[in-house]
Symmetry: C2
Subunit: 141 residues, 2 copies
Amino acid sequence: MRFLRAHAALTRELSSRLEALHELTLSDFDVLVQLYYAEGRRMRRIDLARSVLLTASGITRLLDGLEAGGYVAKERCDSDARVTYAVLTKAGVRKIEDARESHLADIEELFGSQFTREEREQLGELLGRLPLAHTAEACSE
Amino acid sequence: MRFLRAHAALTRELSSRLEALHELTLSDFDVLVQLYYAEGRRMRRIDLARSVLLTASGITRLLDGLEAGGYVAKERCDSDARVTYAVLTKAGVRKIEDARESHLADIEELFGSQFTREEREQLGELLGRLPLAHTAEACSE
DNA sequence: TAGCTATACTTGAGTTCGCAAGGATCATAG
DNA sequence: CTATGATCCTTGCGAACTCAAGTATAGCTA
């Protein structure tokens, strides 16, 4: 119960702040961050989907938006015509670097401030044990 | 990050199991549980909304569904004509008692099995500190 | 009593997703 | 070379929600 409530409250707040300041969804942000840390700042759409726990169709539509905004571009794969890469554009890099700052501050305010460093690590470890929660790539957000 | 991923993975799984077995959303279940433990098994719709962290309109539509299924009924309030109560029907009581069992088993499997009793308590305590997460009423689910 | 503001609820429009189905491409096995 | 099955992606449809606006009622104030 606490878990569900905490999530609902937290994401609602973070999401609305992100939206207000940067016109980004939490999912949008999530995708941009994944791309930002990816090799060559690009990823296969399917891997992107798995890493942010969306379905393939979810990613298609989400990227539609980011492509329209000019933050991400499509790129064909030479070795496999089925796959399309999502690449962060320069505007996308600027966007994420810009949004990161306020978003991290928000997280710190709402989330981090409640815990000591030690507790934070423990919380992370505990949550990391949950099944299926292992998709998150290296990244310390 | 872990928090978001863990939530996405967990709710997706729990939700689909609940849906498959009982044709209930996680939110539906949540609402039924709240009513089940409420005094007289009824609540003002607005209080219900706050306790499950939905908006007023969200509750209206969710209850539309549960009313259509015969699990909850509307009831007028004598002292204040603005408010409507949501009351659990007998069918609703049966439904929730039925669904509870498998749902708790699912939770135990996916969530509880990863932790010792002590860790579980600690996790609960940590999550409970998050701002806005205090709406959950007494109930040990 | 008349007016103002706050509260409870509903409804219309729009968003973000998931699922199922379909098209295209690859890889493998005869 | 062809058939089969898997993989990547998109699209139609529907579900769950939110926000904004509207209605009705309550309560307070002058």
